[in-house]
Amino acid sequence: MNPRIIGANLVVKLLNFSREKTTMFFVIAFPIILILLFGTIFMSQDNVEYHLCVQDLDQTKSSAQSIKTLELDGKFKITRVDPAVNATQYVRDNKVNLVLIIPKGYERSLMQRMMLSDPNASVTITYIYDPSSSSVSTKMQILNSVFAGINQTMSGKPPFIRSVERSILTKKYRFIEFFVPGIIAMAVMTLSLFSTVDSDTELRQKGIIRKLSTTPITRTDWILSNILYQFILGVICTIAMLLVSYAVFNVSLHIDAWLLAFILLDVFAFVGIGMILTRFAREAQSAAAAANAVSLPMMFLSGSFFPIELMPGFLQKFAKTLPLFYVNEGLRAAMVFEDNMAALRDAAIIGVFAAVVFILGIVATKWEEDK
């Protein structure tokens, strides 16, 4: 191993990269676009507000107060529907998925129950809904729980079962804070894998590797400089993503040495996989296809974009065999939960994996011509 040679190779790679404007744009801009896109989607989910149409057929103070209560709950933005309108037709014509109908006699029945304690006095609220809408069942669940609360209060008895929410985290986190570490892991993976595969096949096809094999640079020097190069790009990419996340979404993430450690392990693991793929898929097109075949399942099944708990059981088991899952978990343990033991456990798992594939990658990388 010769540090001068590694340094010379690193400088050339960085110079070449800095002059490839398109590549540079996609390496840095693509993860930032993902952060902005998914961040915006998930941020709105954290403060979700549903649109609710209400038709008040009673037109009394009590019915108006009830509508106000729904509005103040913060979950609904209310649109009032003219009592003369046919609610079913209104749903069809206005492309809304739910109209809640407060019946005529609402206030009278309420007074009977409240003042006269008549247990038979009740009202029936009607939901006119479009079952093809995906959010309508959520709306109805929320409305049912609101009405259950009102019924409970009116019964005059304290509830038997109460619930209390207690987060395992000391701070309140939003989904974006769980999302950013996953995108960092995914971006570094993509960068390392595709860059290794693209660069190695291109340099081999152009004969640059053959020329290099007639110089004192060794296979180890070449691979180490490649690791350093990918690590530097990974760090630049991560800094860009974090800056955007802080500036746009005001995220609250813990940054320490674990972040660099996981970027390095991510780079080692996927440069190793890239070197193995390059050995078996020597043409640029087949190598890129092989890299896609590896990266796509990793992206979608290892919990970068959404929690693996949303997947069927067998896919959850499969997800836990993927290296990116442990990078995701490790980064979240370090950046969100600040759990050093969990980060250490995940680092150990991905570290062993990285060591194995990296050694296999070194063995697979042919420096001399093999035919």
């Binding site: 040679i5 010379a8 190779n9 002059r19 004969g207 020329k211 094999s213 004192p216 001399e368």
Partner: protein, 316 residues
């Protein structure tokens, strides 16, 4: 310790197989210090395989190859710093400039005293130092490749098809650089399928065909030993000259331009033919007498012509 011998390169019964394909078949030759040695043969003859084995890029199937007194299969790390290589179809990093590329390779050899400007001047790239590799023409790329092959001031320079694919002007520019190396006394191992390149540059030419070295010697020796005749061409105005030469017992050939070509053994045969034409009152517009070249030697030895790829046009 490595053993320095009088020969810089010694190849002894070298064989290389790719599966069932026999690429190089028990070839042997030596190259002396300061010699320009050309390996001449058509595409697929085994030139590149042989040179890549000597350069330590490939491993032989059998036979022994020593370079600078060292076994190429065992002493790669000792050999590599002492040689310079321009591989076939040389390429480099697209967005690195001429100067940066030379500096990069110089650093790979850990050379702190490389005369970058001297190399740039040697290959005549002075006004292209800030040009990125991808913007260079084919000829300029090859000249850069030669400069890179010299960054470590090598004892032996290998140039594998340095002018293939270049147009005639670019080819002549590369030849000028190679003649400069020859003047400096560098040992150069050149592979080519251009006869004029071998004739112009080489002290020794080895003709290789189908994995076998079929002839070896200086260009003059090869021609004298294998094509010992004179080629007389007469520019005739009618069929009389052809008939006169034929009746004298020679075997003339008439081409579409009414040129009569005939091989003769000695200069007095030429005189005899010219006298016969004069005596018969026939006319000819011009004549050319020349010795045969390596092309004719190659044709005679192998029965096949050296294939030439169409030259690449220089970008404007």
């Amino acid at each position: 310790m490595t053993k320095e011998t009088e020969y810089v390169i010694e190849v002894d019964k070298l064989t290389k197989r790719y599966g069932d394909l026999l690429a190089v078949n028990e070839i042997s030759f030596t190259v002396s210090k300061g010699e320009v040695f050309a390996f001449l043969g058509p595409n697929g003859a085994g030139k590149t395989t042989t040179v890549e084995i000597i350069e330590t890029i490939r491993r032989p199937t059998s036979g022994k190859v020593t370079l600078l007194g060292m076994d190429v299969t065992k002493k790669k790390h000792d050999i590599v710093p002492r040689i310079g290589v321009l591989p076939q179809g040389f390429s480099s990093f697209d967005r690195i400039t001429v100067r940066e590329t030379i500096q990069y390779y110089s650093r790979l050899f850990c050379c702190i005293n490389t005369d970058i400007d001297g190399l740039i001047e040697l290959v005549n790239l002075k006004d292209k130092t800030k040009e990125q590799y991808k913007n260079l023409s084919s000829g300029l790329k090859q000249r850069l490749g030669i400069a890179i092959a010299l960054v470590n001031d090598p004892e032996v320079v290998f140039l594998d098809e340095p002018t293939t694919g270049l147009d005639p002007r670019a080819r002549h520019e590369v030849w000028e650089v190679l003649l400069g190396l020859k003047k400096e006394g560098k040992t150069v191992f050149l592979t080519t399928h251009y006869m004029e390149e071998a004739e112009l540059l080489a002290d020794t030419v080895a003709i290789i065909s189908k994995g076998n070295v079929i002839a070896m010697g200086s260009p003059r020796e090869l021609i004298e030993n294998n094509a010992n005749y004179l080629a007389l061409t007469l520019q005739s105005v009618d069929g009389k000259v052809f008939e006169i030469v034929r009746k004298m017992g020679f075997e003339p050939v008439l081409d579409n331009h009414k040129n009569v070509a005939v091989r003769v053994g000695h200069t007095y045969d030429v005189q005899e033919i010219l006298n016969a034409i004069k005596d018969a009152g026939a006319l000819y517009l011009g004549l050319d007498v020349r010795k045969p070249n390596l092309e004719e030697v190659f044709l005679k030895l192998t029965g096949e012509a050296l294939r030439e790829d169409p030259p690449e046009m220089e970008p404007k």
